[in-house]
């Protein structure tokens, strides 16, 4: 694992955005977000060989969890180090899962009744978590479980001393924590109230942090998305944060969705599942392949850099950083309306723009498949809107526009066909929306994967990597805008067509479409970030070729 853990978002930004969040909402949400945010940091460290690229030193990021924890806590200072320590998941040997943790807690001897108390609480928390997440034990979870167990053993020894030293705080603690604490029964504790509460508090924190990592991360992400709907200012923060979600997490989430689907299969055959569809369109495969190329490129860069020294090293480093800077997400000053307008304007221009950009890259990639997927989505959207406008036209006889008249004339000819289209239910439209989003996103990622392959493949006439980076940045933002505008259009047409539906039926569908649209852009952005080491390697290769000549 390289010691370099850079990311698209500097640590400072993360910290600020984190505390922004924390200040903005109820305590419950604070904790969820704070923790999920933190856990993604943890995961990043674990997966840093997957996601790390770039040359910054990772120290800032490593400090991150501590800062986060402080900001999220109204917890007394003493407890904080405990909690953050448990998050310090430095590589542990492969180990057992969380269930084991809880079972060992339960199996503790009567003397350990204090521990039994929090243990069983932890268990219930864990089982809630696993109910959300499914039964798959991921590496992160396993490692977290192992650490938690180790912490147990060690904090066991420290317990009495700690209980004394924190006595003053713990007197206040009950009031502070009774609200969200487990029903810890002091009478059962052989070590008295203080230690019971301390351990309950400390260890609850730990269980939440480590045990529920995945679940909370998942929930936190959804929470943020929900928050974003009602709070436009929050949107940017959320986008920033979402960019730190690792690809492995994405893969995992997709799997979880699949599991959920399987669980629901009997009761609800017809639910749309973005993750599954995305996989069916080979989106995951392309992402996986891109990740392989990215990791190998990263490794090549590292080994190349270690072969350099002094001024030469500095020079190459600066060049690589210059490329990286182009990849950093920019805080655009455009307000949302402008963005939307832009997205809408792109429409048909997208195709030519895409081709042009790919041509500019000097790679022989053709956007055929992506264009086809887009066309399919847009054709279908038009068709849906057409049948909607027919219905609308029928209802609002008072003000038929010219357009409607024209369409009506057409309908008389193909009455049956129109009838057919009218019968499209809201569910049909919802399913097709999700499917289209999944397909277009998968094709975008395939496109970026192809670009990566062609850049590595090398062409005769090559653009400097920095120029390629700029073009790729534009390409990615064009893709993201297009996907967002697509999901916007889908949700609009859902809203129109489902106007006679109950809100309970319609709202989840509309928000799900918007949410998947938002996720789609995240996936594309993630894939884009994987291109960075690829471009950097290509730069190194071109440069060394030049020197040879």
């Amino acid at each position: 694992m390289s010691g370099i853990t850079s990311d698209s978002v500097p640590a400072e930004v993360m910290a600020v955005s984190g505390s922004d969040l924390l200040a903005s909402d109820t305590k419950q949400q604070d904790e969820t977000i704070g923790i999920s945010h933190e856990s993604s940091q943890v995961e990043q460290r674990h997966d840093s060989h997957n996601t790390s690229h770039g040359q910054e030193e990772g120290t800032a990021t490593l400090e991150q969890p501590l800062t986060e924890e402080h900001s999220s806590g109204e917890r007394p200072e003493n407890f904080t180090p405990e909690c953050s320590e448990s998050v310090n998941l430095d590589p542990e040997p492969e180990s057992e899962g969380l269930d084991e943790q809880s079972s060992s807690d339960l199996g503790a001897s009567p003397k350990e009744s204090v521990w039994g108390t929090w243990g069983s609480w932890g268990k219930s928390l864990l089982s809630t978590a696993s109910a959300t997440v499914g039964h798959g034990l991921t590496t992160v979870k396993e490692k977290a479980g192992a650490t938690l167990r180790i912490r147990n053993a060690s904090s066991e020894g420290e317990q009495p001393a700690q209980a004394e030293s924190t006595a003053t705080e713990t007197e206040e603690a009950p009031q502070k924590y009774s609200a969200d604490d487990p029903p810890s029964s002091p009478s059962s504790g052989s070590r008295g109230v203080f230690s019971t509460i301390t351990s309950a508090v400390q260890n609850t924190g730990k269980s939440v942090l480590t045990g529920g990592l995945d679940a909370l991360e998942f929930i936190g992400k959804k929470t943020m998305n929900v928050l974003a709907e009602s709070d436009p200012g929050f949107k940017k923060t959320k986008i920033l944060m979402e960019r730190t979600v690792s690809l492995s997490q994405l893969l995992r989430e997709a799997k979880e969705k699949e599991k959920q689907r399987l669980a629901q299969q009997l009761s609800d055959e017809r639910t749309a599942h973005y993750g599954l569809l995305f996989d069916e369109f080979q989106g995951l495969s392309h992402l996986e392949a891109l990740e392989i190329l990215s990791n190998e490129s990263e490794a090549k860069i590292q080994s190349f850099l270690t072969s350099l020294n002094g001024a030469e090293l500095e020079m190459v480093k600066n060049e690589l950083i210059a490329i990286k800077e182009i990849f950093l997400p920019k805080e655009s000053d455009d307000n949302e309306e402008d963005q939307e307008k832009k997205a809408a304007d792109i429409g048909e221009e997208f195709v030519s723009m895409l081709t042009e950009l790919l041509f500019e890259l000097h790679v022989a990639a053709t956007p055929d498949k992506l264009n086809k997927a887009r066309k399919k989505a847009h054709d279908w959207l038009e068709e849906t809107n057409f049948s909607t406008s027919l219905e609308m036209g029928g209802k609002n006889e008072e003000k038929p526009t010219e357009d409607d008249e024209g369409k009506k004339a057409e309908t008389r000819e193909g009455d049956n066909e129109a009838e057919e289209k009218k019968r499209k239910t809201v569910e049909d439209i919802y399913m097709l929306s999700i499917e289209s989003l999944a397909e277009v996103t998968a094709r975008c990622i395939e496109q970026l994967h192809k670009v990566a392959e062609l850049i590595l493949h090398g062409q005769e006439v090559e653009k400097p990597a920095r120029d390629q980076a700029k073009v790729l940045t534009n390409l990615t933002s064009a893709m993201c805008n297009d996907v967002s505008s697509l999901s916007k259009k889908f949700s609009d047409s859902l809203t129109t067509i489902g106007s006679n539906q109950k809100a309970e039926v319609l709202t989840p569908m509309v928000s799900s479409v918007l949410l998947e649209g938002c996720n789609s852009t995240t996936y594309i952005q993630d894939a884009f970030q994987l291109l960075l080491p690829v471009l950097q390697v290509s730069h190194i290769q071109t440069a060394s070729l030049k020197t040879q000549q």
Binding site: E100, S103, E112, I292, H449, K450
Partner: protein, 217 residues
């Protein structure tokens, strides 16, 4: 669709031997005489049934062109099965087998099942490599051998499925560690296999738990 296992396959071999056509025939049951050159890697997936178990094949169809070789090698890792394809009407594609095989062995798990495929068996009149030669090469290197035609679909199904059977057998024999994804095998969600491994984990938990207690006391 739920599945018990997922196997990762790679298809390798010289350019133009019909790798992508084999895949298309297997996944879509159709033949496309003119095919674009594959860039890097393309994907296909299909569900098959072995021993009453659903198995998902995730197939990585690599570019055959020499210039892509260094990229496609990256994709070998973590494959459970490989189809090594040559064209029976072009001897040079047969002559290059050794180099492909070396590459495959070097960049993937030693347990990877490799199926040697002489494709375009429908072009008997233009045959340049005798079937016996393929057979003996396979015997020599411990591969399974088959002649196929992506055009007529002859043996295509068999080639993919027999490879899967071989992998499945290796799993039964305990040669593959199914929990190590580097072997190109993943256990599907909520399956008997998953449940049994869960139970196994449960018993391990118990053992660990008692170990824990002794640590505490």
């Amino acid at each position: 669709m739920s599945y018990a296992y997922l196997f990762k396959y790679i298809i390798i071999g010289d350019t133009g031997v019909g790798k992508s056509c084999l895949l298309l025939q297997f996944t879509d049951k159709r033949f496309q005489p003119v095919h674009d050159l594959t860039i890097g890697v393309e994907f296909g997936a299909r569900m098959i049934n072995i021993d009453n178990k659903q198995i998902k094949l995730q197939i990585w169809d690599t570019a055959g062109q020499e210039s892509f070789r260094s990229i496609t090698r990256s994709y070998y890792r973590g494959a459970a099965g490989a189809l090594l394809v040559y064209d029976i009407t072009r001897r040079e594609t047969f002559n290059h087998l050794t180099s492909w095989l070396e590459d495959a062995r070097q960049h993937s798990s030693s347990n990877m099942v490799i199926m040697l495929i002489g494709n375009k068996s429908d072009l008997e009149s233009r045959r340049d490599v005798r079937k016996e030669e393929g057979e003996s090469f396979a015997r020599e290197h411990g591969l399974v051998f088959m002649e196929t035609s992506a055009k007529t679909a002859a043996n295509v199904e068999e080639a993919f499925i027999n490879t899967a059977k071989e992998i499945y057998q290796k799993i039964q024999q305990g040669l593959f560690d199914v929990n190590n994804e580097a072997n190109g095998i993943k256990i599907g969600p909520q399956q008997p296999a998953g449940a049994s491994s869960g139970a196994g984990a449960g018993s391990r938990h118990g053992a660990q738990g008692s170990g824990d207690t002794s640590n505490c006391c």
